[in-house]
Subunit: 127 residues, 2 copies
DNA sequence: TGATAATAGCGAACCTGTTCGCTGCGTCAA
DNA sequence: TTGACGCAGCGAACAGGTTCGCTATTATCA
């Protein structure tokens, strides 16, 4: 029984997505600059990863532009949520609250942030 | 430049840890029963995975007992936190609050749970 | 125009994680 | 004893993910 390919973005894929989230739509060259600075990646590798990600639907690109412009297929928030849901499912078997408590208790948050959470709580309860 | 091995428990490793968290210390046979039921794993595979995990320090075992008894090296909470921290770091570059909001907003929580979060918030602020 | 550089693509090598076959050892019962 | 069985270990095969060398195509410009 073979294993199934991970549905999650892999390590390098996340790195590239992060760069794209930060820079916005960019040509390979820009993406590569960051990746190389971070871990000495070869240019060919960057191109290859992008082509793999394109095929997986993780990024999109404008081929009319010269050079091609890549952009993330999903927002950071959307991707993060998916990964979080997956983590919750795998480790806590679906109980998100356990994990929220974990996250909160290990964070130094500002008053502003805490208030934001409170507001959200009220909103959830009101509903 | 070769890639570095993941410091996170892998897919199958998490599956095994979950079984151990649920069952408590168990012999291979018990672990295997669950794993086989879940995905048709061969007994040899279960043994192998456990030996790999033993070497990585993810599980510990009592070799005096016959058969050997395996137990998780870290609690579910501790492991979950580590994985969460890692996720936060990789996707949100350290901003845990963003992720907490995500988790909360995608959860249907009971009043009791919400109150628990509030208590924690107060506690954090008081400190 | 010919040399040089930037852009893309492809296939193969390589690494980690996963799977399993085969072997060896101890125990128990015929 | 011997045969069947459960337990443990090991190496090799395999799959997915990552890396890069090599080649082709298209600008760039002396």
């Amino acid at each position: 029984m073979p294993r199934s390919p991970s549905s999650q973005p892999t390590e390098v894929e996340i790195q590239i997505l992060r760069i794209l989230w930060e820079l916005g739509p960019s040509p390979v060259r820009e993406i590569h600059k960051r990746l190389e600075a971070a871990k000495g990646t070869n240019y060919s590798t960057t191109v290859k990863m992008l082509s793999v990600m394109l095929q997986k639907g993780l990024v999109k690109r404008d081929e009319d532009a010269q050079p091609h412009i890549y952009r993330p297929a999903a927002s950071r928030a959307r991707t993060g949520k998916k990964m979080l849901d997956d983590l919750i499912e795998r480790v806590y078997e679906g109980s998100a609250m356990s994990l929220v408590l974990q996250a909160l208790s290990s964070t130094r948050a500002s008053k502003k942030e805490l208030d934001e959470v409170r507001r959200l709580l009220d909103q959830m309860e009101g509903k």
